[in-house]
Amino acid sequence: MEFLTRLFRRNREPVPNMEKRIACFREVLQANNAALGFIADIQETMASGRPLAAADVSRMVAGVTVQTYRMVSNLMRMTGDRYRELLPRFDRLKTKLAKMAELTPALQPVGFVVPLAEVGPGLADAVGQKSAYLGEAQRILPGHVPDGFAITVEAYRAFMEADGLASRVAAALDPVREGEVASCFEASARIMQMIEGARVPESLAAAIEAAAAGLSDGPGVRFAVRSSALQEGGTEMSFAGQYRSMLNIPPDGVVDAYRRVIASKYSPEAITYRLGRGFRDPEVAMCCCVIRMVEAASAGVVYTTFPTSSGLKTILQAVRGLGLAAVDGSAEPSTYTLDRRSGKVLDMKAGLQVEFLRSAAREGTEKIRLGESHRRIPAVTGEQALQVADLGWRLEAKLGMPLDVEWAIDHQGKAFVLQVRMLPEVANRTAGPTRSRVRNAPVLVDRGVRASGGSACGPVFRVESDLDILRCPEGSVITTHEANPRFAVLLPRAAAIVADMGEVTGHLATVARELRIPALFAARDATAKLLPGMMVTVDADAEVVYAGRIEAALDSAAPGARDVRRDPHRELLQSVSALIVPLTLRDRLASGYSPRRCSTLHDIIRFCHQATVEAMFDLGDRALRDRQVLRQLVSPVPIDCRVFDFGGGLQPRTADGEVTLDEVVCRPMRELWKGMTDPRLRWRQLRPVSLRGFMSAVVDYNFDSDARLRRMGEPSYAFITPDYLNLNSRIGYHFATVDARICEVHESNYASFRFVGGSTGIEQRSRRARLIERLLAASGFETDCRADLVNARIRHRPALEMDTALFQVGLLMGYVNHLDMALVSDAVMQVYEDAFFAGNYGFKGDVDSP
């Protein structure tokens, strides 16, 4: 196609504006092929069920939209204002699609930072729920929430947009697929490095520094910089706690800490979590909450309403020192059960803490080992537990929902609230085993609590390090000592997880529940009993692990994560495809074919294609015939072919409107037609050819069922020169394009073949496409097959080889004509493939004798 223009310049009698028109025509056809390629991708993706990345959706949707626009704009260039109505049609669809596919929610313009005192639930969309609730908590519990400020979504976007960071991150994330741990680690490392090394825009850095300086009352002030991740629509994910919190940060370190918290959005476990839950990366914005550091003597979490075996109670967990150890699974916290109504401690279970965390001298934290005698002493007194629980109850009463509250008690004994989150999921659970054990089944582990329900069977794999994570085979029962949130990255591939330590309230448990992976935590010495390679059955519902495969425990296993999780990429593709894929445009010959009737991109694509071909013949049928450039090819095959000669493609002759193959000079056309008319082929339907009604008939194609009604044999068009062919052909219910050049300079030679459609359902049409793909691949073509669309090309071959290739394409076009009807199974397809290779081109199998 590319040298059409140049060739046309040599034409003996230049047609006014024709060069420009041909260039546009060429671009429309090119864009048409590209756009239909994207549509085929969308169809195939929807049918396949393979995991989808956000970038896949934007690539397909942006691709088809831009290519449709190319068609529209080139049609405009060719025809002036004639189809002006198409533009608003296109714009409307484009705007809708962009809104749906790019999901850039309107921002509340609040600036880069907002003081916590001014933040409330109304600003959750701008600052994340964590900051929003903490701001509200400050008002509910005056003096019990440290001063601070929120860094907003606006700040996050400014940071990510600076220096193209967002697009570099998107590119690095692109190859990551769910369950591919190595690629996830690689992308994570790259992105975190990118972000930690990225420039914070000056205005943003200045705003953060000013806010931090405003809270400083002396040289010793330190801050905690916490994540407040926010999903599209303001909903915070329960995963939010997995992101990094930077503790004990001096005022001049806040900007750097901010960057590091943002980077933690791309930890391997966070990436895995989003993939597993089906969140699109751009949907999740990372806000931060910066508060004055509380130097904690003890800290932990309180669940204001939590199901226990004796009803809904308040659960408080406490560790010595900073609270991180309470949620990261590294310590077994002391646990208090409290009753809200009576305001009493019902139960206290001392934990086991080997080391505690405290602020280091200048910045950051350090771990201090506890003496043997201190390890089992409860981290708080009953009175302190009640004091903290009371803060939680007051918050719950005002906010009206069960809460997960992180708290600390400083060295002066004052209680603080550091973080507040909703607790809907856990509140709906019941505590204790929900299923009895299987009698006589060999029990390996009988201690532990159900952190996530269900049962599963698999070989044991012990995980303690990142290297273990990389090595862990799919379907393993993971055993680990600490319920480290880092192992969340493995959960989508795990059958179940068993940890010696860990709490049902910890992050790993939360993720396991969301992914519906059975998890048994606090199983004490499980790692010593479950040896690597052992086949075991974990029944988290019965809080037990059996040796071997115990069917009775597996029969009511929880559904896998894949069955229950939301797949918003697929949902998105589904909804945008309704504006892209369907072809609603009626036949040109029927009424109502106009730009105003175009309601999908596919309609516009089809309309443009048709209108462009017509525009090529704008001079009118007679004028073209008078100029001796348009002929009807007389041929025994059922293709009504019109030949448009750009000059030299046909032998000079007197005008009578018809031409035979002998009079065709165009080399690729001759070879193709020789293949198509090979006497060994048996074409199914022959129809008389005629030039009548040329202007009302149109080049058309179909790959949808409504077109089945259309009659056979609408005209095909061949655009030719001595060495060039562009054939847009419609045979029956499919559409084929051949674009080829054969000359003596073999670097310039190429042939591309494209075939789409058919009269049967998508399955049989796709089978035919695969058959074509195989047959052409065997002839040396590069091929690509998606749904019922096949693209094949061959290039840079000597002219004689190109002749053979074009002959093969012609032969194939005849062979596969109507064949989709016969291809009821892959076995039948194989029979036809074998017949073709055996040279039995007349083979009709059972098609003719059903």
């Binding site: 196609m1 590319e2 040298f3 223009t5 140049r6 310049r9 230049p14 504006n17 060069e19 420009k20 260039a23 546009c24 060429r26 671009e27 090119q30 970038a55 934007s58 690539r59 949707v61 942006a62 691709g63 939209t65 831009v66 626009y69 190319r70 704009s73 260039r77 484009k94 699609l97 962009a98 596919a101 790019e102 600076a162 220096d163 193209g164 967002a166 697009s167 570099r168 998107a170 590119a171 692109d174």
Partner: protein
């Protein structure tokens, strides 16, 4: 002797250099620019058949470069190349006169096909329409 002289503009060196090397092996002469600003300087200094421009760049981004090129270098066609597909930016680019909008990772043959068609596109070259 190279048959095409191409200006490759992208702020990502890890993309730019290997792409230039691959194109050079295909007998295309490549000059690289790491930013829109650098590209504008190179355009003043030398002749190019076509520019392949990344959309997202710090400073003068791909669309701004395209806008300025349509004004100052209307005879150099622009093919946009992006790592971050966007409907709005894609269509905006086409409206500004880009020849095509391709998405990374791009097939080298596809890129070259597009560049060659862009170079031959008469409508992109005012004054040569009816040559």
């Amino acid at each position: 002797m190279a048959d095409l002289r191409l200006l490759l503009v992208d702020d990502e060196v890890e993309f730019l250099e290997p792409m230039a090397a691959r194109l050079t092996r295909r007998n295309v002469s490549c000059v690289t620019a790491g930013s829109g600003e650098e590209a504008l300087k190179l355009l003043v200094a030398g002749h190019f058949d076509c520019a392949v421009v990344d959309v997202k760049m710090p400073g003068i981004d791909g669309l701004e470069l395209l806008r300025r090129m349509r004004w100052n270098h209307p005879d150099v066609p622009v093919v946009l190349l992006t790592g971050h597909a966007s409907i709005e930016l894609g269509v905006q680019g086409m409206e500004l006169g880009a020849f095509d909008y391709l998405m990374k990772p791009v097939d080298l043959d596809e890129l070259l096909d597009t560049v060659r068609r862009a170079v031959q596109q008469p409508t992109m070259r005012p004054g040569r329409d009816n040559a």
